[in-house]
């Protein structure tokens, strides 16, 4: 194995360099070719994208192979892996570090480029060539960054006998798949970006453009939703404090593109259906990807301190900042120059579906801006005062600014879909939503009398969730004309309804579920903190947890103290909870593994701590009502996105002619 050990690394590096060459060709020749009308150069875009993809895949596979066979002659493997690590975490270790995560980033970028090359046959050839060229240039920037400052294939001679392991906090299935989903989201937004740049260069944004941008944005948005939810779920069960969102700079870095991407999804509808809001949508596409890049900068440059941050290095920071300035600055210059020429066709009154979507965009972007300000404020203050003044912005800032912006948004989400295009009847929409209004009021009244420790704000939250949930259903019912036409006619409408409608309904209902989970779990959580001896019982929310005792157990690369609780309710046995404290030796570190019994209505969450030296153990038990609905709601949102993505209108690669006819057939339906 030592013989071919360095071979893996060398093949990987050569593959990266070849990919760099391909990306340069992909980024330049088609761009010049489209400008001067050189057909042969335009045609280079597709094979170049394919070639780039092949060599990046090769590099990525080599790095993964290095991890799988524990080839410690590759420095990156030696620093981040260990022979005793379970295979899943050897593989996830590939992207658990700065260099490897960059390779994953570029790999996904190349994958998206390949999809345009393969399935973009219904795009105008010049548009496709320009999109691929922009993708190629982004790829070139990141490959150059990787090779010059963050080469994952640096070799060690002689190779160490054992690797340095991976942070055990990161050895977790939730976290293993968290980065790939996040990157699919971040990089997915690069498609919208490339289309925006290509459109600015062409000087034209047509409804067909929006039909192309929407599926990519939707796919990216779904992945990002799943990625953020996975990360928050991981924090919930792994950090052992029952919290699931901390407004950490790195969390914010993923949340900002999500907010902007959500806005983009909605404004692209207006471009597609109404041929309006063009320059705004192009700007949103640029902003969304810019925020993804900014996230990469914040995580990797060391300008902000965060627990999530990769080992940072100022040289890398300078390079990424330069990349940021070229990509974002360049695109905004292009925007300032070309956007005034984008002509919008549709006119509409402020009170219309378009108006509603603008309100949606306004609120989402404002929310995004408050998060951005909160994240960057410490840095700004530091810079302005020359390092003499430092602050940290904590959760109170974010809850006090973010939530007030979200409240009107949630109210509006239920109303928006009920408005008609161009000019709408707000009173009519509201009167059709009277059922939702009634349910929302009922929730407040019932809650007022039945829930003992409910604050007014939490009742409002519950009521809003109910309003949104029922509102989404009422909207669907209206579209299907339930109760107004016969069952057979309703059924025909169920089938004829575009999937995008169901997707929207699901996504809005998912948002309602998430809000419900957030409000219920934060308002009515109970906790018990105590030292328990074996045989003692703790009571929480009607459950009795009998502390049976603790046992030492060994894991693949750690030793663990495992406690056992027997949970019963009114004397009847329900479940056994076994929280653990794991002690890793390489690197030395302890992690808490909470034991969670999730049910539909509440989670029981138990954590064990240190012994008190007299036979007792510190224990923490939480009862969190409906907390899993937070992530269930996120999954429903992402599912809604996928349903919408499967809409024939948006299906990537469907022949353009057929699509066009279908669109005509559906203009009224949707």
């Amino acid at each position: 194995m030592e013989g071919n050990g360095s071979l893996i690394g060398e093949i990987g590096l050569y593959a990266l360099i070849l990919a760099l060459v391909f990306s340069l060709v992909q980024g330049t020749l088609p761009m010049v070719g489209t400008h001067y009308g050189v057909g042969a150069w335009i045609a280079v875009a597709r094979p170049a994208a394919l070639g780039q993809f092949i060599f990046i895949t090769l590099a990525f596979s080599m790095l993964m192979l290095g991890y799988i066979v524990s080839d410690f002659s590759i420095e990156n493997v030696a620093l981040n892996s260990h022979t005793d690590k379970p295979m899943l975490y050897k593989i996830s270790g590939v992207w658990g570090n700065h260099e490897g995560s960059l390779i994953l980033w570029i790999f996904i970028l190349a994958l998206f480029g390949l999809s345009v090359a393969l399935f973009g046959s219904n795009l105008p050839p010049t548009l496709r060539a320009r999109v691929l060229a922009v993708q190629g240039l982004i790829s070139f920037g990141f490959l150059l960054f990787t090779i010059t400052t963050s080469n994952p294939f640096t070799l060690l001679n002689p190779p160490p006998l054992q690797g340095l392991g991976l942070n055990p906090l990161l050895q977790d299935p939730g976290l293993a798949f968290h980065p790939p989903f996040l990157y699919l989201g971040y990089v997915g937004f690069s498609m919208a970006f490339s289309f925006a740049i290509a459109a600015l260069i062409e000087g034209r944004v047509e409804p067909a453009w929006a039909r192309w941008v929407r599926p990519w944005t939707l796919a990216a948005w779904c992945s990002l939703t799943v990625g953020i939810a996975l990360g928050s779920w991981w924090a919930y069960y792994e950090l052992g404090w029952g919290g699931w969102w901390f407004w950490d700079p790195v969390e914010n870095a993923s949340f900002m593109p999500w907010l902007a991407g959500t806005a983009l999804l909605h404004s692209a509808i207006v471009v597609e259906k109404r041929d309006a809001l063009k320059s705004w949508t192009v700007l949103l596409a640029i902003l969304t990807f810019s925020l993804s890049l900014l996230g990469a900068f914040l995580v990797r440059s060391g300008v902000l301190t965060s627990v999530h941050a990769f080992a940072t290095d100022p040289q890398r920071g300078v390079f990424i900042l330069a990349l940021l300035v070229i990509v974002i600055g360049g695109s905004l210059v292009l925007y300032a120059w070309r956007a005034p020429a984008l002509k919008s066709g549709g006119y509409f009154s402020p009170l219309s579906r378009e108006g509603g979507l603008i309100l949606n965009n306004l609120l989402l972007i404002t929310a995004c801006a408050t998060v951005l300000i909160g994240t960057l404020y410490p840095l700004f203050l530091d810079v302005i005062t020359g390092g003499e003044s430092k602050v940290s912005v904590g959760p109170p800032y974010f809850t006090n600014t973010f939530i007030p912006i979200m409240l009107p948004l949630v109210v509006a989400v239920a109303i928006g879909p009920m408005l008609s295009w161009k000019r709408a009847d707000l009173y009519g929409a509201l009167s059709r939503l009277r059922l939702a209004l009634a349910v929302a009021l009922l929730v407040v009244i019932i809650g007022w009398y039945t829930i003992e420790n409910g604050s007014f704000l939490s009742l409002c939250g519950l009521s809003l969730a109910a309003w949104l949930f029922v509102g989404a259903l009422v909207d669907l019912g209206e579209r299907l004309k339930i109760g107004r036409v016969g069952l057979g006619a309703v059924w025909r409408r169920v089938i004829a309804q575009p999937r995008a409608t169901y997707g929207m309904t699901a996504a809005h209902m998912g948002l309602a579920l998430t809000i419900f989970g957030i409000v219920a779990s934060t308002s009515w959580e109970t906790e018990r903190l105590q030292v328990m001896r074996p045989g003692q019982t703790a009571d929480i929310a009607g459950y009795a947890l009998l502390f049976v005792g603790v046992k030492d157990v060994g894991g693949p690369n750690y030793n663990s103290v495992r406690a056992t609780f027997e949970v019963s309710r009114e004397g009847a046995y329900i479940a056994t909870l076994q929280p653990e404290v794991r002690t890793f030796t390489d690197p030395p570190m302890q992690t808490t593994e909470a034991a969670i019994r999730p049910t539909i209505t509440a989670d029981l969450y138990a954590v064990v701590g240190d012994p008190d030296g007299q036979g007792g153990w510190a224990t923490r038990i939480y009862h969190k009502p409906f907390v899993h609905w937070i992530w269930f709601g996120a999954a429903v949102m992402a599912g809604g996105g996928l349903i919408s993505l499967s809409d024939k209108r948006l299906r990537v690669g469907a022949p353009g002619r057929r699509k066009f006819n279908r669109r005509r057939a559906k203009v009224t339906a949707a």
């Binding site: 950090l239 404090w241 919290g243 901390f246 950490d248 320059s279 700007l283 640029i286 902003l287 810019s290 900068f297 440059s301 060391g302 300008v303 902000l304 301190t305 627990v307 100022p314 920071g317 300078v318 900042l321 940021l324 300035v325 974002i328 600055g329 905004l332 210059v333 925007y335 300032a336 956007a339 005034p340 960057l376 410490p378 840095l379 700004f380 530091d382 810079v383 390092g387 003499e388 003044s389 430092k390 602050v391 940290s392 903190l529 030292v531 030395p588 570190m589 302890q590 808490t592 954590v607 064990v608 701590g609 240190d610 008190d612 510190a618 923490r620």
Partner: protein, 173 residues
């Protein structure tokens, strides 16, 4: 004009990021070094007996003061290394910043208590006098109650070796 606005905003952000890169977010404003610690007196964290006051820091022994909270993720990260400092025989005091007394007690029970004395700074007033910017923060204080060194952010083995231990040696002279 309105099309130039996004570019303008970005230029400002990029400039700030650029300057930010040249600064280390963990470097202490030099003005605080060498200054006297503020006068304060805090009750012990719930469940512990020994509280912390400025008098404890002026008794001639070099000490390390660590500001922590149960709600602070990075505090959890540095916790084993704070314990290691204590195991090296260094006097470590803890100021518990704006924490729920139950949580603070439990945190120390579960993860271990490396502190010789603790002070519960429930409203954060004392920490403000110390000039705390964000948790965790760690101060090296000489026997006379002067701040010798300050570290912002989680204290990692590297920081102990390159910053805290040399500062303690300086303080002992």
């Amino acid at each position: 004009m309105r099309y130039l606005l996004p570019l303008g905003v970005f230029v400002v952000v990029a400039a700030a990021l650029g300057i930010g890169l040249t600064m280390d977010p963990r470097v202490l404003p030099s003005a605080l070094k060498g200054k006297e610690i503020p006068d304060f007196s805090l009750q012990a964290v719930q469940g512990r007996e020994l509280g912390l006051s400025s008098a404890n820091l002026r008794q001639g022994t070099v000490s390390v003061v660590n500001i922590f909270a149960s709600w602070c993720g990075p505090c959890r990260v540095e916790h084993p290394y704070i314990t290691e400092l204590r195991n090296l025989g260094i006097v470590v005091y803890g100021i518990n910043y704006k924490d729920h007394p139950d949580h603070a007690e439990e945190w120390l029970n579960i993860h271990g208590d490396p502190y010789v004395r603790t002070g519960a700074d429930l409203n954060g007033r004392v920490s403000i006098d110390w000039g705390v910017y964000g948790l965790p923060e760690t101060y090296v204080v000489d026997g006379g109650g002067h701040v010798i060194e300050k570290h912002i952010g989680p204290l990692m083995p590297d920081d102990i070796r390159s910053k805290i231990l040399p500062a303690i040696q300086r303080a002992m002279k």
